[in-house]
């Protein structure tokens, strides 16, 4: 019964989304406020309906209702509760439902959030967001129904792919989807601006918070996915330049560019057409990611053709929104009044370079991801484009970008002073060079590229710190004054400085992996193996039965100079429901570094093990987390909240909003 309610709610959500699309759009054309007013109600209603559907499917999973095919294929009654719930989005149908839930969530948020966007723009944006819901709901209901029942239900489910039975599945997809889909709202605003034929700083201010939310979640989602792959796959790698990873990285790159170009638009009323293009591009790349992952085209170019129902449907959605977006752009963009040009040496000039480099870097990832597919489709030749390709193309562009971050930060808006910026950065350069040389000296050298990378990371990090210091510290000022000044800086200034410092930390962690050490060996009890500064010795091995799998555990001691400092368990798990085994790496954190123990096969020479010492590896993800915190700080900036009371005039929020609207009306 509950399952049928879920299915029914999904159909109802489709109807409401159609209303959300048609009525506000019509109302905006007819300048009819009551028609436009239906949009938000429909959006909230659609969200509630999708949430009910999602809840119903969750219920089916929690209670192990094996009359539902989706549950049979992906669940097992012995599975722990958490993995029964997360198993919902560990498969095609469920993850599409999660996707639609997030689309509807953003529609509802736009409907209820106080926004500084003028009424018509908001109505149009809501209509476009509704259209996206309509497309994906139609897809789910017609070819990807998660509520399909089985006529002859089995007694037990087929269990979830063991590799997905991990806390990572609980966190990674929701974060990633909020990021991906968050850009749909930015796309909706861009389309609305094109339909309305007007775009200005108000638009930029209305869109930036949404863009920030999407960016923060996408950053966290990618970082989480990378850490998950690192500890679960047992290869000690954290980024494989695999098409699925690239699918999430491309929207991140173009979304980062968008975040910066919106800033130029907000402050200087320039780069308008480019910003709109980026907004369309970012969501297009999100859709492309969904297509690549969900259509099966990656598993086989030919498998795609054998399952036309789903693959072609997603391709149609992709073509409709990307094609529609660009067609609208080609048709309406010439109508937009372009903003002024500006001096090359200025903050906005630096942001243009930032955009240029990010967009180009994104293009190289795009080529590396799609070229093999295109080549195989055209000639049948099979190639793999791996890390060496990206090392030769993406990495140099990223390095140029990193080098420029502190300079861009140090330049003023409108007319920057390059000599002044350089002289202000001398301190930063000095500190970073000294720190880098000290590290290299302690490590007794290292690869040149890694040393450069390390320096760049430190340079960007110190540059971020300096951004706050230089604006709050004055010679001879007491500490309390400095702190007060630092606290008084706008949140967006803090946000930018923290985010850039986070990027620096992440790059330091990436560069430090050049010093990681790998040892292969056979472990026998009592015979230590050396990995970097540590010795690892097998002390114990035993088996145990846990929930839905059996586990063979090998226990190791990590020794430093003969003293035991850590105990770490590595294991092999066997899942009878799928007749599959997985390897769980043993990871022991020492400072920011980790000792990583992966098990191989037991042979006559002992238990095969692969050991890694990965110095500072945690900085990669800590850096991403810091960057995301920077984004969140920027989001909390009071200037982004319309009608938010300014300091000292707390009593008149309504007045300011009225002024803002009057300004828009007057234009």
């Amino acid at each position: 019964m509950i399952v049928e309610i879920g299915h029914y709610a999904l159909v109802l959500a489709l109807a409401l989304s159609v209303i959300q699309t048609v009525l506000p759009f019509w109302g905006a054309r007819a300048r009819d406020a009551s028609l436009m007013g239906i949009g938000p109600v429909a959006a909230v209603g659609a969200f509630v309906c999708v949430a009910i559907a999602f809840g119903a499917l969750t219920w089916a999973y929690v209670t192990s209702d094996f009359t539902v095919r989706n549950v049979v294929e992906n669940s097992h009654s012995l599975k722990p509760l958490l993995f029964r719930i997360t198993g919902l989005w560990g498969n095609h149908e469920g993850s599409m439902l999660l996707w639609v839930l997030v689309v509807a969530l953003f529609g509802a948020l736009l409907a209820v959030a106080r926004s500084m966007a003028p009424g018509v723009l908001r109505a149009d944006a809501l209509a476009v967001q509704g259209l996206i819901s309509v497309a994906f709901l139609t897809f789910i209901i017609s070819v990807s129904n998660p509520f399909a029942r089985l006529v002859a239900p089995p007694a037990e489910g087929q269990d979830l792919n063991p590799i997905l039975q991990d806390i990572g599945l609980a966190i990674h997809p929701p974060l990633l989807y909020i990021g991906y889909v968050g850009f749909s709202l930015v796309f909706a605003f861009a389309a609305a601006a094109l339909i309305g034929g007007r775009i200005d700083a108000i638009w930029a201010r209305a869109v930036r918070p949404w863009c920030l939310i999407a960016w923060v979640f996408l950053t966290l989602g990618i970082a989480m996915g990378s850490y998950w792959a690192y500890y679960e796959l047992g290869w000690g790698g954290f980024w494989f330049w695999d098409p699925v990873e690239n699918a999430s990285f491309m929207p991140w790159l173009s979304g980062t560019a968008l975040l910066h170009s919106i800033l130029v638009m907000e402050k200087r009323d320039a780069l308008k057409v480019w910003t709109i293009l980026l907004a369309i591009l970012t969501f297009s790349l999100s859709l492309l990611g969904a297509f690549l992952v969900r259509s099966g085209v990656l598993t086989s170019v030919h498998a795609f053709a054998t399952d036309p129902g789903r693959g072609l449907f997603i391709l149609a959605i992709l073509v409709f929104f990307i094609g529609g977006g660009f067609a609208l752009f080609a048709w309406r963009a010439p109508l937009l009044k372009t903003g002024g040009l500006f001096a090359p040496i200025s903050r906005e000039g630096a942001l243009v370079v930032n955009n240029l480099l990010l967009a180009t870097a994104c293009a190289t990832v795009f080529i590396g991801t799609l070229y093999p597919l295109a080549l195989e489709g055209l000639t049948g030749d099979k190639i793999s484009v791996g890390p060496p390709f990206y090392d030769a193309t993406f990495v140099p562009l990223a390095m140029a970008l990193l080098l420029l971050i502190p300079f861009g930060q140090a330049l003023a808006w409108k007319r920057g002073d390059l000599a002044g910026a350089v002289s202000r950065l001398l301190f930063v350069m000095g500190v970073s060079i000294v720190a880098c040389l000290a590290i290299v000296f302690i490590q007794r050298g290292g690869p040149v590229l890694a040393v450069i990378g390390l320096w760049l990371g430190i340079f960007v990090f110190v540059g971020g710190v300096n951004e706050i210091l230089s604006r709050s510290w004055k010679r001879g000022a007491p500490l309390s004054v400095v702190l007060r000044r630092a606290a008084g800086l706008p949140r967006s200034a803090w946000g930018a400085a923290v985010a850039h410092a986070g990027v620096g930390v992440c790059v330091i962690g990436l560069a430090a992996q050049a010093w990681s050490i790998e040892t292969l060996g056979s472990a026998r009890p009592g015979q230590p193996l050396t990995v970097g500064p540590y010795d690892v010795v097998l002390t114990d091995s035993f088996s145990r039965q846990v929930a839905n799998y059996r586990e063979d555990v090998a226990r190791f001691h990590v020794l430093q100079g003969g003293v035991i400092i850590r105990t770490v368990d590595a294991s092999k798990r066997f899942f009878p429901a799928r007749n599959t085994s997985t390897t769980e790496a043993g990871i022991s954190t020492i400072g920011f570094g980790q000792v990583y123990v992966a098990l191989g096969d037991a042979g006559e020479h002992g238990l095969g093990v692969r050991l890694y010492w990965k110095p500072w590896v945690l900085l990669i993800w800590i850096g991403a987390l810091i960057a995301a915190i920077g984004g969140a700080l920027s989001f909390s900036d009071r200037r982004l909240r319309v009608g938010a009371p300014t300091r000292g005039r707390r009593k008149e929020p309504a007045g300011k909003e009225a002024v803002a609207i009057a300004t828009v009306a007057a234009q």
Binding site: T299, P344, L356, T360
Partner: protein, 152 residues
């Protein structure tokens, strides 16, 4: 600086960055791309030793030899031709005789293959795509197997 000059500067720098990127991509395409062959294709195409390749097929029954210090030797077959492979390191969980694998490495002058990477996915139903295609070519493919769930 005049408007025209500024615009020129902007377009010029965009062209310069794109040009550099294009150069990098073309350069990388020549050197870093790895072709995939099945054992039969490898025998037919007369590939120069020293080239970096991926080869895929099934691990031949009874061919796996485990030597000391994690050295492994095995043969990859498509039931028409075999390639001898040697590899040092841990094999993936689902490396078994009769299972599909992809090995990446360098072809030696004596037509053996020294792999530095061996891939077999974690799901027993999963067959690496290239392997499935190579086997289909040789007519030894047995049924359409469903690919395992990828990471979402």
């Amino acid at each position: 600086m005049t408007r025209k000059k500024r615009r020129l500067l902007l377009i010029g720098s965009a062209v310069a960055v794109l040009g550099v990127a294009l150069g990098l991509v073309l350069f990388a395409m020549r050197d870093t791309i790895v072709f995939f062959y099945g054992p039969t294709e490898l025998a037919q195409k007369n590939i120069q030793p020293g080239a970096r390749l991926r080869i895929g097929g099934l691990v031949k029954e009874g061919s796996v030899e485990r030597l000391a210090s994690q050295q492994v030797r095995f043969a990859i077959t498509d039931s028409t031709s075999d390639v001898r492979v040697s590899y040092a390191g841990l094999l993936p969980d689902l490396f078994r005789e009769g299972q599909g694998v992809v090995a990446e490495g360098v072809l030696q002058p004596d037509h053996t293959f020294v792999a530095d990477k061996v891939l077999a996915k974690h799901d027993e139903r999963y067959m690496p795509r290239e392997v499935a295609d190579a086997l289909k070519k040789q007519g030894v493919w047995q049924g359409e197997e469903k690919a395992g769930a990828a990471r979402p």
